[in-house]
Amino acid sequence: MSGDSVDVLLRLVAVFAGFLVLPLVIGQTEHKVMAHMQGRLGPMYAGGFHGWAQLVADGVKFAQKEDVVPADADRRIFQLAPAVALLPYLLVLVAIPVGPGGQVGRALDAGVFFALAVMGVGVLGSLMAGWASANKFSLLGGLRTAAQLLAYELPMLLAAASVAMAAGTVSLPGIVDAFHWWWVPWQLTGAVVFFTAGLAELQRPPFDMPVADSEIIFGAYTEYTGLRFAMFLLSEYAGIVVLCALTTVLFLGGWHGPFAGGWVWTLLKTMVLAFVVIWLRVSYPRLREDQLQKLAWTVLIPLALAQIALTGVVKVVIR
């Protein structure tokens, strides 16, 4: 009995450590990769060697700042919103398998649904922040977030459903266990749809209309300062970790690789996907709000439905 609880504790500590470290690694990578893609150097001083401690320095800076709540704000909701934005990603991370044989925070039978449902909750944080800030830009940002969530949750779910159909299970370790290499071309459309929709749900460029700083200052985060603002930023990077890990698990075969490696493969694939996230941010300008909706409803959803049809047909044929 006590062995069990130690086991649970260790798993949770490992997940929590990953939750704290991986977003920072991705954030630092973003600093450097984005800089070099733009012909710059990026941070060079913090920590001495190529600015490796830049995000630590940023954290210290955020911690020193005053925590301001606007006078007209809905105080409690306003203060709660960053936690609502951040925590769901931690919860999803618990359910993501990284290696074979139960290397997972907590294996869930309905893992896919759990992950997608809880990821949707994260968006709620932005919505709460936008509504509670008593600021028109925040409200606009919050409403854009809501519109984006509505538009992109559907293709994301459909694409994930296609994989679940292919594997015949909704358990995340079960899906990876059932994976074969030819699933990659088979589920390619679904993977692209899932990844794109995930980017939109995270409000990452080129889908960052809810925070479009040239239009609505910083959207739902306009009124936030200090640590609460830092939590929103952290949730964005935690979201990248979760999205890339989920894409890896669902579409790229998780810990399967050309030679043995276990969890290293999961981590490697996640990091490559995170690089792609950064790459896309640097390469493409922000879409307009109506282009965003058009992309979701006229491109991604039909593609996702086509993928489901293809999955169904192949599934019937190979049975």
Partner: protein
């Protein structure tokens, strides 16, 4: 556009290619910048050439040059001659908080007392300390680079022509003297 999505791929290719190349960042405090030969960094004063004509102070668009002087009387050069008066520079200061680096003072100086120096690291924490006096302006004078060389087919500078003419005249006079002495 051709194949749909080729524009998107091209965008990705551009950023990826840029990533593999060297960054353009100027690493200024670590690496000194390479400045153009006529960089307008700061104005140096060669005070021996200054005659306190005040042209620079008058032409300065924002009046950032301060000049004080007094007159001195020199004894006559030859006995029975007239006494000469001469301007002596007491203060020459430029307020670089006001200066807009137009260079009119350098252009207008008839005696070549003002020069552009590429020196640029003279920031101060107090705006009043940006008024630099003649000793500091003189230090900057030694950082003024040599003027860039003339084009190969350019006309000879007037100064050189004038100097050569004077030298030739002096030589001829000397030779004439020698000949007289021999005869």
């Amino acid at each position: 556009m051709g194949v749909p999505g080729s524009g998107l791929a091209k965008g990705l290719a551009v950023t990826l290619r840029t990533m593999t190349r060297r960054a353009h960042t100027a690493r200024y405090p670590d690496v000194q910048p390479e400045l153009a030969p006529r960089t307008r960094g700061v104005i140096g004063l060669f005070e021996e050439n200054c005659t306190v004509c005040m042209l620079c102070a008058r032409e300065c668009p924002d009046w950032c040059i301060y000049i004080d002087s007094h007159k001195e009387t020199l004894p006559p050069a030859a006995p029975g001659g007239r006494e000469r008066s001469r301007n002596v520079l007491d203060r020459f200061a430029i307020d670089f908080a006001l200066c807009m680096y137009c260079g009119i003072c350098v252009e207008v100086c008839p005696f070549d007392a003002l020069f552009w120096s590429p020196e640029f690291e003279y920031a101060e924490t107090d705006i009043r300390e940006l008024t630099h006096e003649r000793d500091r302006l003189r230090e900057w004078m030694w950082t003024v680079p040599e003027p860039p060389a003339l084009d190969p087919a350019a006309e000879e500078p007037k100064e050189l022509t004038a100097a050569r003419k004077t030298a030739e005249k002096a030589q001829q006079a000397q030779q004439a003297e020698k000949r007289e002495a021999q005869e």
